[in-house]
Symmetry: C2
Subunit: 415 residues, 2 copies
């Protein structure tokens, strides 16, 4: 119990307990930022048919190959093709069809001449002319978007595990993929404990502080593609704490997260309760902040106990909880979140894997990290000024300006 685990070992032990959530189907309007649960294979070509990329006239290039401004070619206008219809006719030699942007090309025609290169009116209310003068000789295929230019039927366009963006949603809409298969969101019960905590809307009385962790952690859970279920703030009373934990069991959550109640203090009860009704491993992890972390289960539901200090709890969430939520959300595990940055100043550490609050900026195209504010683990202001956590590996005690490290963005401000 008193030996120190490496961060990586602790992460791996925790991660293997969790699995990706089952699939659910959501309408396109609710699919943004959800994680795709199946590869999407196009069942149509995009565009589905050759179409015009301009308002103009569909022509046979052969007919107009000598057309110039001074020596136009005159064609008979035999059809008017708006977007949305499928023209049945075939353009014969000497003929043209008025065609709108996005409209399907008629058979026989192999190029479009924009209306600006004709004598036809650009007025939207103009009548279809009987003839049109063509001032320009197009290449075959000019201003025609060929079938399948963007997507070929059978092509895999999006892979499972991708967090959907607005443009992904547009592509799914174009392909008619609705409802969309996504992974269910994990449900995370959140319990803060401590007689010293009062709620933010209550007056501050002597010796008390306001609960901040439950608000920070709930927002972090939401931003990690999961649903927070706030159990509330429990006093240091075993019976009350147990009642709250039983609520989480009733709700069949995927994870119980507690804040505080797992240090060595006399007034910490969570640990005892869990040991009676499940099992608990209490780890000291070779990191700072956030050394103590509890991991186990309460009545069969996995539980992680984070430290009570706001920064320790924040970092503990990032290091141990977020990877779980990403795994359950179906997001591939990797180091894709991390950025390689250069130090703008020397950094000292104590040999533990250290998470400094830092501010990353782009200096001449180079990602550069500066420490942000007071690094004390109870101090939130530095965390609000930071846009990333700078990670000093275990075993490193001193790094010079210019050294390259990994940093973990924690703010949407950056990028």
């Amino acid at each position: 119990m008193s030996s120190y685990l490496s961060v990586k070992e602790a992460q791996q032990r925790i991660l293997k307990v969790f699995n990706v959530k089952p699939v659910e189907f959501v309408v396109l309007e609710q699919a943004n930022r959800r994680v795709l649960a199946q590869d999407i294979i196009a069942n149509v070509n995009l565009p589905p048919f050759d179409n015009s990329s301009m308002d103009g006239f569909a022509v046979r290039t052969e007919d107009v190959k000598l057309a110039t401004h001074d020596s136009p070619v005159i064609l008979q206008v035999v059809a008017d093709i708006p977007a949305g219809i499928s023209p049945a006719l075939t353009i014969q030699p000497g003929q043209a069809a008025r065609i709108m942007t996005g409209a399907q090309m008629p058979k026989g025609a192999d190029a479009v001449v924009p209306v600006e290169y004709t004598d036809a009116s650009q007025d939207p209310n103009s009548r279809l002319p009987e003839q049109v003068r063509i001032f320009h000789a197009p290449r075959p295929g000019e201003y025609v978007r060929p079938t399948g230019q963007d997507v070929r039927q059978g092509q895999t366009v999006l892979n499972a595990g991708r967090k959907l963006s607005p443009q992904d949603i547009g592509l799914l809409a174009s392909l008619g993929v609705t409802p969309v298969p996504v992974y269910q969101k994990a449900r995370v019960a959140l319990l803060t404990t401590g007689d010293e905590l009062i709620q933010p809307d209550q007056p501050l009385t002597p010796g008390k502080i306001r609960d901040s962790n439950s608000y920070t952690l709930a927002a972090m859970i939401e931003m990690s593609d999961a649903i927070p279920i706030r159990l509330g703030n429990a006093p240091d009373d075993p019976l009350v704490i147990q009642k709250y934990l039983d609520l989480a069991v009733d709700q069949k959550v995927d994870l119980i997260l507690t804040s505080a109640g797992v240090s060595v203090g006399t007034y910490d009860f969570v640990r005892n309760i869990i040991e009676q009704h499940g099992h608990l491993e209490f780890w000291r992890v070779n990191m700072r902040p956030g050394k103590p972390i509890a991991f186990g289960a309460y009545k069969g539901i996995p539980l992680i106990g984070l430290p009570g200090n706001p920064v320790s709890s924040f970092v503990g969430f990032m290091v141990f909880v977020r990877p779980i939520l990403q795994k359950m959300a179906g997001i591939p595990q990797g180091r894709g979140d991390f950025l390689r940055v250069r130090l703008a100043e020397p950094v000292e550490s104590d040999g533990r894997e250290t998470y400094f609050r830092c501010s990353i900026s782009v200096e001449k195209g180079v990602l550069t990290a500066t420490l942000a504010g007071h690094q004390g683990s109870a101090n939130l202001v530095g965390l609000t000024k930071a846009n990333a956590l700078l990670i000093v590996p275990a075993g490193v005690k001193s790094l010079p300006t210019g050294a390259e490290l990994e940093a973990w963005p924690i703010s949407s401000d950056f990028a």
Copy 2:
């Protein structure tokens, strides 16, 4: 009407029509990612009182200045101070109080000795000892977090215009700022038009394509801190289009956004309707994609008409609509969103301000941009593969590998 506006001029003409939204108050649970509408000035110190950063014993350093492991100092334990109470006693010479992490320091004591440096039990259920042996001589202030270390009363901790993060929410909670003053979200009506469009859940019939813009744009509106109000997809029928626009007027939206219906095509009716019931400026902007943009008002509600091509509409939204939504949301205008990147390959343009789809990666700490996929303005796949828009300024036709440009992130994948 046929002269070209610069992107900047078009942006400025549009922006000046809009103002920041009024303030509303939301509970902390709903404040994440909302934009703060007032500077927040701390009305308390944080921490509000000197407190222990460890479980241990509050002592007078004078009493234990000679304590070592081999020659401990014995103190009388006169109190047990859990977190959450305000101790009334004063520690006298020769005395100590057991104290928990976060608990208020008693008067007289000026340091904490962690329980590990004493002979007291670390067992949470242990009884309060009568005496404690101290094995360590602390510095004055050791393991004490002084009042106001993190925040001083009267200090401005967060500024108006800031998009709130989980850690900001935690700081607001600590300060008791609830409900939180934020700017109201703008409400944006969204209308797509076109006989050629069918909805994603319908089978694709000849000549038709599926509506994707309304889905992409709705998601973009949400991600720009505004509320999309989907009017639906209108056929190319002036009476129906007008009925939809009147719905937006009834709902008192801040902006009407249309997709398609504003090019020079015969089948575009939106323009005529707006000219009858408001006013419309129809601009050709010196950019690609997305040259044509309509700006005006319908029955007093500002209206922007975006092109129908998916990529043009996406870029038009980023360039002209997002700045409006940010202004209404109270986010300070600036170029903070842009990254300086280096080209991984040469780039050719046509002299218009060009928005290429690109993929930014970090190569040895340097942000590097590569073009992503087919750049045709109807092609969504390139947009799904891109994580940024690379901006080639107007007047530039050719750039070599290594040139520095601005890029605009469009994906949460990056960072």
